[in-house]
Amino acid sequence: MLKETIRQLVSSTEKMSMTMGGQMQLAGVSAAEQKALLGELKNKNEKNSGYAFLWN
């Protein structure tokens, strides 16, 4: 379900903005998925390249 949510978010600027503002219900997305998604969107909004963990 996370996959479908992300596909919907990237295809709609409005939905993306609402999610980033915490105004969008993410049905079918677990709490852990939601936490990670919101963390990544915040990163994206702040123009960070990604979360700090880089193990390569």
Partner: protein
């Protein structure tokens, strides 16, 4: 904070000098070890920090960590020989029979190093049993990865749990057991989470390149390429067609910029980042919940995040 890399490296080199009595074997092995020492020895560092976290004293942590890193080096060599995608590495420039022989000798050396490094018969047996069990799991995962037959995300996650998670479990648990303690379920669980998060990071890196290591050009099935293949938009079907070999490498050779734009536009990059972060968050939650290691929490997180060498 003391950097343990030089000590681990010193033990790796001493082991090669001691057991590789044939001059050429020692020379090739020392060259490969030297190359390895240019990188961060994060598996070995995880072994050392877990040894300390669980009350281990003395220097045997570095010897056990050297055994772990010798194994990691051997598997890196074998992985590069299988994939043929690291032309800059010394083992890729040597004749194949030599590189293959040195890799298998290093595998055996890692087992001997584990026996030499651990203190006490019971600990030695426990560590070698741990080593064989985790490494066999990793070998199973590696085989499935080479065959590249994962049809869905669940199958892919199972493969990386075996392939990458098992190695992280081995590195962390070797430290716990070298300190004289038994298998720890929380450590085992968070090590798997680090392994999954790290593998997805590698997949993100290999998605966004256009050379011999490109997962797309190599038609490699990963969490992210599966995401792209499953996309239903008509304009993106060429990606699925390429994976089905209905398009050749020549057909897509000029589509580099389009491919990167598609990764961004479809949310493939965001999906990978979210999935990796979710597994990393789970690792942090498990560390948070483990009171016994609370004093070590920030050091462990910094080490995993490569902010510090332990």
């Amino acid at each position: 904070m003391k950097d343990c890399n030089p000590l681990i490296g010193q033990h790796m080199q001493q082991l090669a000098q001691r057991y590789f009595t044939a001059g050429p074997l020692a020379r090739f092995a020392e060259r490969y070890i030297k190359d390895k020492l240019n990188e961060s020895l994060r598996f070995g560092q995880l072994t050392v920090i877990h040894y300390r976290m669980f009350g281990g004293q003395g220097d045997s942590a570095y010897k056990v960590a050297a055994a772990v890193e010798l194994f990691i080096l051997a598997s890196d060599i074998l992985d590069d020989l299988q994939d043929q995608d690291a032309p800059g590495k010394p083992w890729m420039q040597d004749p194949l029979p030599i590189a293959l022989h040195v890799a298998t000798a290093l595998l055996t050396l890692s087992q001997q190093a584990m026996l030499d490094g651990a203190a006490g018969t019971e600990t030695k047996i426990g560590l070698v049993a741990l080593m064989n069990d985790r490494l066999l799991r990793s070998a199973n995962g590696q085989m499935l990865d080479i065959l590249n037959e994962m049809q869905d995300e669940q199958a892919y996650l199972e493969v990386i749990k075996q392939k990458s998670g098992s190695l992280l479990q081995f590195a962390c648990m070797a430290g716990v057991m070298a300190a004289g303690l038994p298998w720890n379920d929380t450590v085992a669980e968070y090590a798997i989470e680090i392994g999954i998060a790290a593998q997805i990071q590698n997949d993100l890196r290999d998605l966004l390149r256009w050379d011999e290591k490109s997962d797309f050009l190599q038609r490699k099935r990963t969490l992210l390429t599966l995401y792209l293949i499953e996309g239903e938009a008509e304009e993106d079907q060429w990606i699925k067609h390429y994976f089905e070999c209905r398009l050749s490498t020549e057909d897509v050779a000029m589509k580099r910029d389009l491919f990167f734009e598609t990764c961004e536009r479809t949310g493939a990059i965001l999906y990978g980042s979210v999935m990796s972060r979710m597994h990393y968050n789970r690792f942090e939650e498990l560390v948070d919940s483990f009171e016994q290691i609370s004093a070590w929490k920030s050091t462990l997180l910094d080490l995993v995040n490569d902010k510090v060498r332990y």
